[in-house]
């Protein structure tokens, strides 16, 4: 297991509320939610840098490109 480092995080009330909601919905600790967010952020960044595109597809299978970062 990699050694972990500690940091202090300042969030607004609204950001903390969302973090707490996600934590409950996903059955994760708040730290785990933030680690997931970092992983996804980096993944999207890498894929976009490689020329990839990120799409969301609605139920009608109509794709919309999501502009990120």
């Amino acid at each position: 297991m990699n050694t972990k480092k500690t940091m202090t995080l300042n969030l607004t009330d609204q950001e903390m509320k969302v973090l707490e909601e996600l934590s409950v919905q996903k059955d994760l600790t708040k730290t785990a939610v933030l680690r997931q967010a970092l992983r996804l952020y980096q993944l999207v960044d890498v894929k976009l840098a490689e020329g990839g595109k990120l799409f969301f597809e609605d139920q009608k299978k109509e794709k919309a490109e999501l502009m990120v970062l």
């Binding site: 600790t29 785990a32 992983r39 996804l40 980096q42």
Partner: protein
Amino acid sequence: MRIPVQLFDHATNDAVEGELFDEVTVEHFLETQRDWRPAVIEAAKAMLKSGAPREGVPRHFHWDWSRKEADLKVLAFSFFGITCGGRLQGLMKLETAGRSCRLPAQKGKPLVYVDYLETAPWNIKTLAQPLGKAPQFGAIGSRLIEAAVRKSIEEGFKGRIALHSLSTSEQFYLEKCGMTAVSRDPAKQDLLWCEFTPEQAELFLGEGGGAA
């Protein structure tokens, strides 16, 4: 991370110590292409020539680990390997972000997805036999699935993992590991989506990561 893991030597029927590690490099990928792929292809050809049923022929003859080199730097992916006797015996790629459960009881909860898991061809009975050889080491797949479960626990996913099983591996994941067959996935060549609940994962670990 490098830890000793117990494997099984088919030749002596004895336990043998291997090493599980997560510092996978492109050198390991190249080793699979150099040492594994030709043997998988040779076994597949021998099986087809001998009239073996097509569904038993390995489906992973086209895998190319070296194409995953860029993924080594991405946090959302983790790699594990097992060595024994100075050779790479198994390799696995995990996705640790962006995947969620499909089982109704845990739908939407995050899990570790086993994207690729491969055992060296000389350890697989159905591949070694057509080449006139006996399988060498056992329990490679079990040890790698065990590592995936432990990674899931480390990530806070409580042991939840899932994978799309090749048809030739379904029996291993369902019967030996005790995973649940959820459904065939038309978006992934109709492969079977298999999933562990935290309880099943705990049971699997408690049984020593499944039988050899």
